[in-house]
Symmetry: D3
Subunit: 131 residues, 6 copies
C-alpha cells in the first residue's frame, strides 16, 4: 500500500531474484522483508544497496550489534518508522538486551534534546573540537 | 556570537558555577566548552541537562564509547554541527580509532540512504517486526 | 482521524467551497483529497496555500513533472508520508515512468547518504561553490 | 557568500524595490536583512512570501510574540541557523525576556527528547487523541 | 505494536507504578497514554522524563498553553505523528481554540517554507542578529 | 576544520589516489572538492560512494540537470549547507538558469510548507494514492 507494489517472488526479474537468493542465504531464512520487495522494481538499485549494505554492516572495527544500534539511532532521528522497526528487530536478533535497548533510546533522547538546545542557542564550535 | 552570549566564569550564578565545578571535576580538565557557557543563562536547565547527561552517558549495559558514537549518529542525522564536533571529539578521547570513525560514518550514510528509499517507497512495517 | 476532522462538502464555509470548486475545475475531477479537507477549517489559509501552489507548480522554467519530482524529494527527506504518496501519484498522473521513479528514488537515497557523510565529516564549503 | 549574491538596493527590480519599501515602512527601520536580499532575485517569490508572512505573523488569535517563538521552535527543530537567529532577534524586539527565552528552549529541548523516544519506541497514537 | 509492548498496570515495576500514580494525580484522570506505557520498560528513564517534563511544562514565564503549542511546533517539524496528536490534544484541553490551532499551523507552515528558502539560498546570519 | 583533516594529494593512499584520478578525468578539472578530501580517510568508502554516485547521476530516464536539482532539494530539506552549495554549483555548471533556480527554491519552499501543514493536521493518506 506504499507508492509501489510489493513484488512477490514470481514477479521478480532474474537480477532481483538473484539478490533475494543472497539475502535468504546470508540471513538463513526464507523471509524477505517488505523493503526489498518494494526496491525490487529497480534491480540495479536493489543490487547496489544490498552489496554495499553487506559490507557496511559486516564485522569490522565495530561489531555488528553496535552497527545495528547506530542504524536505529539515525533512523529514529529521521523518523523513519519502518527503519526503526526493522533494525530494532535486527538488533534484538543479534543479542540486544532490554537494558541495552533502553540505554540506546535514552542516549537518542538525550542527543535529540541537546541538539535542540545547541541549535536554539546558536553555539559556535569550540576550536578544540576541530580536527 | 549565537543567540545568547557565552558566559565567562565571572558571570555565572552560584548554581551555574556549581555545575561548572562538577563538569571540571568529572572530566579532569579546566576547559568548559561553549555549550555549557551558553546554557548557563538558565541555571535550572543547566543543572537538569548535566544531571541527566551524566547518568545517560555513564557505563551501563552499553559502554561509554558506544554511547558517544550513538550521540554522533543522532546529531549527524539532525545536522547539528556543534554536536557532531563535540561528540566526535569525545569519542576520540574515549578511544575511537580512525577505522571505527570511518565505519561509524559508513553506517550513518547507509542508514540515511535506506531511510530515504524506505520513505520514498512508502514501505509498511512487516508484521514480524512489531513487538 | 488526524488532529482535525476532514470536512465534507456540506460543512464548508463559502470561502472554502470556492477553493474546492477551483481545485475541481483545474484538476478536472470531482475528487478533493484529504489535505484540502483538513485545511478547510482555516479558509484564509486554504485560499493562500492553493493560490500559491497553483503558481509555483504551473509550467515555467521547469516543467510540471520535474516540479512534482522535486516535491517528492523534499517530502521524502522530511518523512511526510502523506506528501510522498500524494505527489508521487501526481507525478505518475503527469507521466512519470517506472524508470523515472526508480531514478528519482536513487538520487534521493544517494543525496541522503552523502548528506549524512558530509555532516558527519563536518566538511566546510569550498570557496569555489559560493556565489 | 551563499548560493546567490545578496542584492543591494541599486540592483533591485522595481517589483523587489516595492517590497523592500513595504518592509522598511512596516518595520520602521531602513535595515533590510539578508534573507530578503537573497530572495530578491525572484521578485514574484519575494512578493508572495512577504505578503503571506505579513498576514500570518500579524496579531490574531495568537499574539505576535507567541508567533515569533513558534517560528523559533520550528526553525530549531529544522536546524536553520539563520532562521533561529533572525526570529530570536525578532522575538527579543517584541519583548521576549531572558526567562521566556530559557523556557522556550527548555520546551524545545524536551520536545526533541520525547520526539526521539516516541519514534524509537514506535508508539501508536491513542484513539482518544484523534479528532 | 511498536518496538516494545505497551505495559499494562499489572506489568509495572514499583518504580514505574509510582510514576503512573503521579501522572494520574496531576492530570486528574485514570487514563495513562501509550507513550508512558512504552517508556515504562525503563523505570529510571520514565522517572527522569516525567520529572523534567512536569517542571518544563509548568506555568512560568510562559503559560502552559503556549508551551503546548511550542511542543506541537517542534513535533510537527520533526514529523512525530504521535507527539503532534498527543500535544494537540493537550493544547485543546488547555483551551486552544480552532482559530488558535489554525494560526499555529499557519505559522508552522510559514516557518517551514522560509526555513527551506533560507537553507537553499545559503543565507549568512546578519551581524545584527548575533547576541 | 571539520571532524577529520582534509587530505592533500600527497597524503592519499593508492586506492584513494585512484579515485581522485577518476574524479579529475570525468569532470575535466584538476580541482577535487573538500568532500572527497574528507572522505579519503576511508578509501573503501570513498570508492563505494564514487562508484555509485557516477551511476546514479549519469544520464538515464532523468537528465543530469534534473538529478542535480533533486539533489539540491533533498539537501535543502536536510539542511546540509555543504551539499546545497556543491550541488547548486553543479546544477549551474550543467546549465541551470537563474529562473530555474528560483523555481526550484519556490517548489522546495512550497513543499516544506505543505509538509508542515500535513504533519500538523495529521492527514491520513487517501486510498487513491496507494499503489
Amino acid at each position: 500500500m506504499g507508492t509501489v507494489a510489493l513484488l512477490q517472488d514470481a514477479d521478480l526479474s532474474p537480477e532481483a531474484a538473484a539478490v533475494f537468493a543472497e539475502i535468504r542465504a546470508l540471513r538463513g531464512t526464507d523471509y524477505v522483508n517488505n523493503f526489498w520487495r518494494a526496491l525490487a522494481h529497480d534491480p540495479a538499485g536493489l543490487r547496489a544497496v544490498w552489496d554495499r549494505l553487506k559490507v557496511v554492516m559486516a564485522p569490522g572495527a565495530l561489531d555488528p550489534l553496535v552497527k545495528e544500534m547506530l542504524y536505529v539511532a539515525v533512523s529514529t532521528a529521521n523518523g523513519c518508522g519502518y527503519c526503526i522497526h526493522s533494525h530494532t528487530a535486527a538488533a534484538k536478533a543479534k543479542g540486544m538486551t532490554t537494558e541495552q535497548h533502553a540505554e540506546l533510546l535514552a542516549v537518542v533522547g538525550m542527543a535529540m534534546q541537546t541538539n535542540g538546545l545547541v541549535q536554539g542557542l546558536g553555539v559556535e564550535v569550540d576550536a578544540v573540537f576541530k580536527a
